[in-house]
């Protein structure tokens, strides 16, 4: 995807010098391997700051919410679907945006690579068509790229942006997958007590830092339910019930809106697979309403509207 860099810079330079946009939001190259920093550029001479590689997993739609200027924004498939969600939910206007679409090959999963290195520290990471080559002091390790993609990228079926003003490259072929929800179904097959124990275990390290919530473009409420004090819905300590309540409601607020961009999971400093919750809801929304969020600009999400044919099997 490195060949995208030049194209992104060219487009950004053109947009800024022709005064088509006020700013361009993209990524800057990271200061450590497998990271990148969201960046905003407002002068044509600064566009060389922009970068693109396999580590741009944060969702840039997060930086668009309620902005009033004209923005050029770099968007992968999942980001573009969030832009659609934002437009549907009146957080930004389509006219303000010039979407620089990026057909995506999937982002690599930093946390799993670091775990696989088991304490060895990578100092350089190069990604080619099939492999991720990691080098560090006294070692070189190779990982199969497909296997070490972020889990949401491995099961992604919308790699190409769904809305864009310009693409930086030809569209990529979409993945054909047998079962995108295998991990969810595995949990569903457990008994209630097993499920309870399973989630207790994965949520145990949670610090309540709210990186998952804040990295998510859907979480733009002025006051989040965890910050409400009258009534206060849940305690603020790391008591397991409070942690679970937080994760439950965070995920639930994304039901029917989540595009599975994986920013939440990527942002987590303690590697909690928080997507297991949102993914379950995605699966249910797909099953019950045949809906995929962020695909069409003028359709409200299903839990936002009433239709007489809404499924009601759960009602006595």
């Amino acid at each position: 995807m490195l060949e995208y860099v030049g194209k992104i810079r060219d487009i950004a330079r053109r947009l800024l010098s022709e005064n088509k946009v006020d700013v361009v939001i993209g990524f800057r190259q990271g200061t450590i391997p497998m990271m990148s920093e969201p960046a905003v550029v407002s002068r044509p001479e600064d566009v060389d700051e922009l970068y693109w590689d396999y580590n741009c997993g944060i969702n840039l739609t997060n930086y668009l919410t309620k902005r009033t200027d004209r923005i050029g924004v770099v968007a992968k498939g999942c980001d573009s679907r969030n832009i659609v969600t934002h437009i549907v939910e009146n957080q930004i206007k389509r006219e303000q945006l010039y979407i620089i679409g990026v057909p995506c090959h999937g982002m690599i999963d930093r946390s799993r690579i670091l775990a696989a290195l088991d304490g060895q520290e990578p100092t350089a990471v190069v990604v080619n068509d099939t492999e991720i080559v990691v080098t560090g002091p006294g070692f070189e390790r190779k990982f199969n790229r497909q296997e070490y993609l972020q889990n949401n990228c491995a099961t992604c079926i919308h790699r190409n942006p769904v809305v864009y003003d310009e693409l930086v490259a030809e569209k990529v072929e979409e993945q054909k997958l047998d079962d995108r929800y295998a991990d969810v179904k595995k949990i569903e097959a457990m008994s209630p007590d097993e499920k309870w124990a399973f989630f207790d275990k994965i949520l145990a390290p949670c610090l309540r830092c709210y990186a998952c919530r804040n990295a998510c473009p859907l979480c733009y409420c002025p006051t989040c339910f965890v910050d409400e004090s009258r009534p206060q819905w849940l305690g603020k300590s790391i008591d397991p019930t409070d942690v679970r309540t937080f994760h439950f409601l965070r995920a639930y607020h994304c039901a029917g809106r989540c595009t599975d961009c994986g920013a939440c999971e990527r942002a987590c400093p303690v590697n909690i697979p928080v997507r297991l919750l949102t993914k379950k809801l995605n699966m249910d929304v797909e099953d019950l309403y045949g809906f995929e969020p962020g695909m069409v600009p003028d359709v409200r999400p299903p839990l936002d509207v009433y239709r007489p044919d809404d499924p009601g099997g759960f009602i006595k």
Partner: protein
């Protein structure tokens, strides 16, 4: 010791189920005493937060009825 009875929070819509409960009362119909009724202006007012709040306070079951 008497048999264990569950505690159930029942969120009942003022206009539908609460009315039905009222009618059941007028008709002197016998039913379980397990429910603790919370009358809501509309069952659409129920937020997932309410349900979790009830569970967190230790109820054994929740019944939302429109």
């Amino acid at each position: 010791m008497s048999e264990w009875e569950p505690k159930i929070t029942a969120f009942l819509c003022n206009w539908c189920s609460y009315g039905a409960a009222d009618l059941a009362g007028i008709g002197r119909m016998q039913h379980t005493p397990a429910h603790r009724v919370i009358r809501v202006p509309c069952s659409g007012r129920i937020s997932p937060k309410f349900i979790l709040a009830a569970f967190r306070r230790g109820v054994d079951g929740i019944w939302v009825s429109g």
